[in-house]
Symmetry: C2
Subunit: 241 residues, 2 copies
DNA sequence: CGTACAGGTGTACGGCGTACACCTTGCGTT
DNA sequence: AACGCAAGGTGTACGCCGTACACCTGTACG
């Protein structure tokens, strides 16, 4: 046992081992609990050993993103731009859903790595080979924003309840009082929430189908792109500014 | 002098003074340099004193968001939904541009405060009173996402150069080499960047007009919303799923 | 005059990222 | 066979962070 652990420790650390360990650790305990010390411990090594393989924590995070960008897989060739884009985004989304921490890490990244640039380049390529002008492609890329990665920036209260949570069991009366408060102070949101909760009768969650919402917005954008493309939109002429 | 400072210190701290100080401090030094200790120092007080007015740093950040949400101002009444939404978003954007830290704070917030809910409620209200169905309003709110607050989640390399930066003065040959590298590895992005850099001949920045990109995407969405509304879209029937 | 309490203080703890000097080990060269 | 060197792991330490907890102090009110 000790020998085996010893042997495991003996196969030398390298960048990939560090990165992969970081990814799975983040998957397990969440990005906010991923510290250099914790990661080192997981690898049976002293914290400073990591610095022989990554320059600092920033670079570690960048490498982690690179790692999962590698999971996305190549774009389907020879598809019309719209479905090509759609598929690629949804496939990126699958990956990102497996690594929930990646959203915040991608967002806060300041130095873009080649792997990330590569992904974005492929993305731009789909529009260009689809016949989009360079100009339109540029703006369309901006309009995609982080949706390119398959996630939306939700500002809604979706922290209400995770699947496995041990809910604190709020008494019914308090629940009712909260609902009344909500109806009084935020009537519009209340209406929406009530309707959504009604629609699917599952009790858990906020009654929103994230995947549906994502595709709804995505298709809205793609349709918009298509229209602009068809009418040969240019930044000077169209309705923009 | 000592007396005056003493006197200033004498007017007692309260939640608003703490929050306002935090906002201006974050404006000045950036959110990453805003620590409880630093803020306390700024207020001429010992760190723990702050905890008599905010429960913890999370709540401080929430309060800071509340503070600047208050700067946004009320929606214009009696305007058609589209211009009402447009104006409100752009006015939120003005505020958010004054407080660049707010973007990341809003994004990472987990407990939504009443002020934030109020803003979102007003937002939903514009669609509802504009005749949108509850259903459509719901999805439309999701599709807006953080654009509701006037910012886009940019994943582009815009950290290239801030206005006041003392640029490290990269030698021309290195610059050229980087450009060649870029053209080789990321041909599509290169095309876009080259065209954009050409368009406005300012040397600084990445050649992107953030305000234009924002409005471009915003109008794309709003037009999409309008179309769906006009054709009485419902989540069951339309083109969605 | 006494006392309660809001509000400011001091000390301390455990965690973080990481600088720096050090030690071990295995390999290519002579 | 001896050597030296670099790659890679170690130990210690520093300065920062958020905040728990016990404590003091001045003001308002009975």
């Amino acid at each position: 046992m000790t020998q085996l652990a010893e042997a495991a420790r003996r196969i030398p650390l390298n960048r990939d081992r560090v990165l992969n360990a970081a990814v799975t650790l983040a998957d397990e305990v969440g990005i906010e609990s991923l510290s250099m010390r914790r990661l080192a411990q997981e690898l049976g090594v002293v914290p400073m050993a990591l610095y022989k393989h990554v320059a600092n924590k920033e670079e570690l995070l960048g490498g982690m993103v690179d790692t999962i960008v590698g999971e996305i897989g190549p774009p389907v060739p020879d598809a019309p731009w719209k479905s090509a884009v759609r598929l690629r985004v949804l496939s990126a989304r699958q990956v990102l859903l497996r690594h929930p921490w990646a959203r915040s890490v991608i967002e806060t990244r300041t130095n873009v790595t080649p792997a990330v640039l590569g992904y974005m380049d492929g993305f731009a390529g789909m529009f260009l080979t689809g016949g989009f002008s360079v100009d339109l492609t540029h703006h369309v890329m901006h309009a995609m924003g982080s949706r390119m990665w398959g996630f939306t920036q939700e500002v809604f209260d979706d922290s209400a309840g995770q699947a496995g949570d041990q809910q604190p069991q709020v008494p019914a009366e308090v629940r009712a009082a909260m609902a009344r408060q909500m109806a009084e102070n935020f009537p519009h949101l209340f209406k929406i929430a009530a309707a959504a909760a009604h629609e699917d009768d599952s009790v858990v969650g906020n009654g929103c189908d994230d995947q549906f919402e994502f595709e709804f917005a995505l298709d809205l954008l793609l349709d918009g792109f298509e229209r602009l493309h068809q009418q040969n939109w240019t930044s000077g002429g169209g309705k923009g500014r």
